[in-house]
């Protein structure tokens, strides 16, 4: 891409974007902020009109500022969202949904035969007839990569994959990418962690405000962004943990078992931050469904503040969902109403008394700033939306707050702010449980790490232990 600039809805998305990637290279892309990222993907995939510059794909000019011809460039895009069609088999997704598939009749045995060399070459054993719904997230990503390879994509963009799969699966995925890179397929690997990117990429491009600032060629080049992406403030000593078996734990899971979780046991004290890492994201969904009483565990129990819990309301806990700005805000309601949502459990008069709400506004305008209360919720910046969600939980003052993949799709600036917001919850003596597939970011604020193994006992690491490992 040569000096590419583009404007979308009056806003400059890319501004003199310049990036060359050679065949078979795995190019890391580290967005300091999210600005221009979606425009970049649109340009790569479908030749979005440019206001300046040229785009070349496989040495052919495919898009210029003079003339943009909208068409599919055959560039694979694998985001953390599942792009496969559920209800169809692996083979159907790979072959039948292929744009070049022109056959009138679907021939499953033939498709199985065609798929097997691909699967054998990468040492992955997935049945071609398995329904996509039955696959793990890692397997879905592998199928997605295969789909792009079979479709003839010579450039595949992977975005924020590390947040979705566990450590062991990520290693397997890296092996797979290296294998295809050797075959001449080029990858753009978008991630918000420089350390993650250096594990797989040959080069890393720093992107900020729709521009490439610098292409780093070795790990020794460490840029100073101003944003660290990790919590640098004083975390203070870990909270005092009550005697085991006592009623003093804020959260306790005892021998919890289900379809994905086996004998999960852990405790968390008040004001403690625990990171729960599982290799399969489905385990978190199951854990949350036990927590809110949506399903019943095969065995074991959950106790919050010593009491058994099995319902969402009045359970003394809060759940901050994955991508909370999309799922936890009410855009038709005002900022103050959003902030006070569910506060009636703690202050029953909150919706009857305008004075109580005004009190909340006065108190929190000192922290959140007075301006945000006058804005429409959809006009808030992403950071302001996250502040609203986390402050709402802080006002409710639950015993335990569960944060599901809190750093997913967050740029570096936002990550630093999320860490500060988690610290705010901890300072209020709220126990925070981070449910994360990937450990980057989470560990900088955690007191304890629990790695749940599918086949074997869970591993528990205290802060000193995992910090020592990280620094070594």
């Amino acid at each position: 891409m040569e000096r590419v600039s583009c404007v979308e809805q009056g806003a400059v998305q890319l501004d003199g974007f310049n990036l060359s990637i050679l065949t078979g290279e795995i190019m890391g892309l580290l967005p300091v902020n999210n600005h221009g990222l979606s425009a970049l993907i649109k340009i790569l995939q479908s030749n979005m009109p440019l206001s300046r510059g040229y785009v070349y794909y496989r040495e052919k000019q495919v898009n210029t500022w003079r003339h943009s011809k909208p068409r599919d460039n055959r560039i694979g895009l694998i985001q953390s969202e599942e792009c496969l069609v559920e209800g169809l088999t692996v083979a159907d997704n790979i072959f039948v949904l292929h744009p070049q598939y022109k056959k009138w009749m679907v021939n499953p045995p033939n498709m199985r035969k065609q798929l097997s060399p691909f699967l054998e070459s990468i040492n992955v054993f997935i049945s071609a007839d398995t329904y996509v719904d039955e696959l793990s997230v890692f397997e879905k990503i592998v199928v997605d990569v295969l789909k792009s390879v079979v479709a003839g994509c010579r450039l595949i963009v992977l975005q924020d994959i590390s947040a979705k799969v566990g450590e062991a699966e990520l290693k397997k995925l890296h092996e797979l990418l290296r294998y295809y890179a050797k075959q001449g397929i080029t990858f753009i690997y978008i991630d918000f962690h420089l350390k993650e990117l250096w594990r797989i990429c040959d080069k890393v491009a720093l992107m900020s405000n729709g521009r490439i600032l610098k292409v780093l060629h070795s790990e020794s080049e460490s840029p100073n962004f101003g944003y660290t992406g990790s919590y640098n403030g004083s975390r203070g000593p870990s909270p005092v943990v009550p005697a085991k078996g006592g009623r003093g734990f804020a959260f306790e899971a005892k021998k919890l078992s289900g379809e994905f979780i086996k004998d999960l046991s852990f405790t968390a004290a008040a004001g403690e931050c625990v990171t729960l890492q599982h290799m399969d994201i489905m385990a978190f969904r199951e854990f949350l469904s036990f927590l809110i009483g949506e399903s019943v565990p095969q065995s074991g129990e959950i106790r919050i503040d010593g009491k058994k819990t099995d319902c969402l309301f009045g359970g003394g806990f809060a759940v901050i969902q994955e991508l909370p700005t999309e799922t936890m805000l009410f855009y038709e309601m005002s900022y103050l109403d959003n902030l006070c949502f569910l506060l009636d459990r703690r202050l029953p008069e909150i919706w009857r008394s305008a004075a109580a709400r005004e009190g909340v506004r006065r108190e929190y305008s000192r922290i959140l700033g007075g301006d945000v209360f006058n804005k429409r919720v959809d006009a808030l910046s992403k950071i302001e939306k996250y502040e609203l969600v986390y402050t709402r939980v802080a006002i409710q003052k639950p015993k335990v707050a569960f944060c599901v993949q809190p750093f997913r799709r967050a740029d570096m600036e936002l990550r630093t702010r999320i860490l500060e917001l988690i610290k705010m919850l901890l300072d209020k003596e709220i126990t925070v449980v981070l449910l994360a597939a990937n450990l980057a970011d989470s560990l900088s604020i955690s007191d304890k790490l629990i790695r749940i193994r599918k086949d074997g006992p869970d591993e528990v690491y205290l802060r000193d232990e995992f910090l020592a490992v990280e620094s070594s």
């Binding site: 050679l22 490439i212 610098k214 080049e221 840029p223 100073n224």
Partner: protein, 337 residues
């Protein structure tokens, strides 16, 4: 509104509205027919005065410009552009081709020619060779080597007047220049030249504009590593694809902030006349703009320079060129005449 009224497109739109209003009024008998006729006559007169005459005047101005006349500021201001964009185009032309600007360019060219005439290459080389001999006799080997490097550098920059050279020749010149700089900086500067061994022969044969890499290397030393504490590592990395030659001149110096980088990259790739503007020299980037302009003029605006930098990490200047092995493959060959 006052600005818009200047544009012929706006005047035409207003006149059409007037014609429409008159037709509707006439059809609905809101005004008597003589008044309608008088209205049409008034619009026709206004059309002649406000549209046709200014249009003819502007056409005449453009014709004069195309015939090679330089236009004064008053002539340009008398013209009535068709729309806002045309106005911007005129402004741009005026900036580029104003007599002052052209004079400035001519003056710089004259200065360059005067300098070139003053330097008699043979006289210069003989003198340098004399200094080298004296230095060798006196046992001053370093002085002799420096003199030899200087003579080689001048021979390349002054004598080889053709526009395209091979990558190998250009790299040799970079090494000569670097060896001269090493007398100043000693071990504080390091240069490495890297490329894929299998592509080396082909890369070294590629033709590129003369003095493409050396000015960038010079820039990197002066702006990047001169102020750096410790050793400055410079690297020239060459990559060849099927159609392109990518040269990256890197340093691990101070780097620059995002805003400076943005301004520098904006200067590149726009074919501006910054070279002719003395006042811009102080702001730097002149050498880069010069190399970028030459590449774009020779090969088209798909090629050129781009700067990448991060504070504390260093700066890379990426030169994108077509991979050509012969001068006949140059897109704008007439520029080489």
């Amino acid at each position: 509104m006052k600005q818009r009224w200047k544009y012929i497109s706006f005047r035409v739109a207003v006149l059409f509205c007037g014609i429409g209003a008159l037709m509707v009024s006439g059809a609905l008998s809101l005004i008597p027919p003589p008044a309608v006729l008088a209205g049409f006559a008034a619009i026709a007169a206004a059309g002649w005065l406000l549209v046709v005459r200014p249009y003819l005047k502007t056409s005449e101005m453009i014709r004069l410009f195309l015939e090679g006349y330089t236009l004064s500021e008053s002539q340009v201001s008398e013209s009535r552009p068709i729309s806002g964009v045309t106005q911007m185009l005129f402004d741009q032309f005026q900036e580029f081709l104003s007599p002052a600007q052209l004079f400035n360019m001519n003056k710089r060219q004259a200065q360059y020619l005067a300098l070139q005439n003053q330097i008699n290459p043979h006289f210069l080389y003989n003198t340098l060779e004399g200094i080298r001999s004296e230095a060798l006799i006196a046992g001053l080997n370093d002085v002799a080597d420096m003199t030899e490097a200087l003579a080689t550098f001048f021979r390349y920059t002054i004598t080889k007047v053709e526009n395209l050279v091979s990558v190998e020749e250009e790299l040799q010149n970079c090494e000569t220049y670097f060896s001269m700089q090493q007398y100043r900086f000693g071990d504080r500067l390091e240069l490495s030249i890297r490329c894929e061994p299998k592509d080396k022969e082909e890369i070294y044969r590629c033709r590129i504009p003369k003095l493409t890499m050396q000015p960038i290397l010079e820039n990197s030393i002066i702006h990047g590593t001169e102020l750096k504490v410790g050793t400055g590592h410079m690297a020239i990395h060459l990559e060849l694809t099927e159609k392109r030659l990518l040269i990256r001149v890197s340093d691990d110096g101070l780097g620059m902030d995002e805003e400076t980088l943005m301004r520098l990259n904006e200067k590149l790739g726009k074919g501006n006349f910054s070279i002719a503007k003395q006042e811009r020299e102080a702001k730097g980037g002149l050498a880069l703009a010069n190399v970028d302009n030459r590449i774009r003029l020779l090969f088209g605006d798909e090629y050129g320079l781009h700067v990448f930098s991060a504070p504390g990490v260093g700066t890379d200047v990426e030169i994108s060129l077509p991979a050509i092995g012969s001068d006949r493959e140059v897109k704008n060959r007439e520029v080489l005449q």
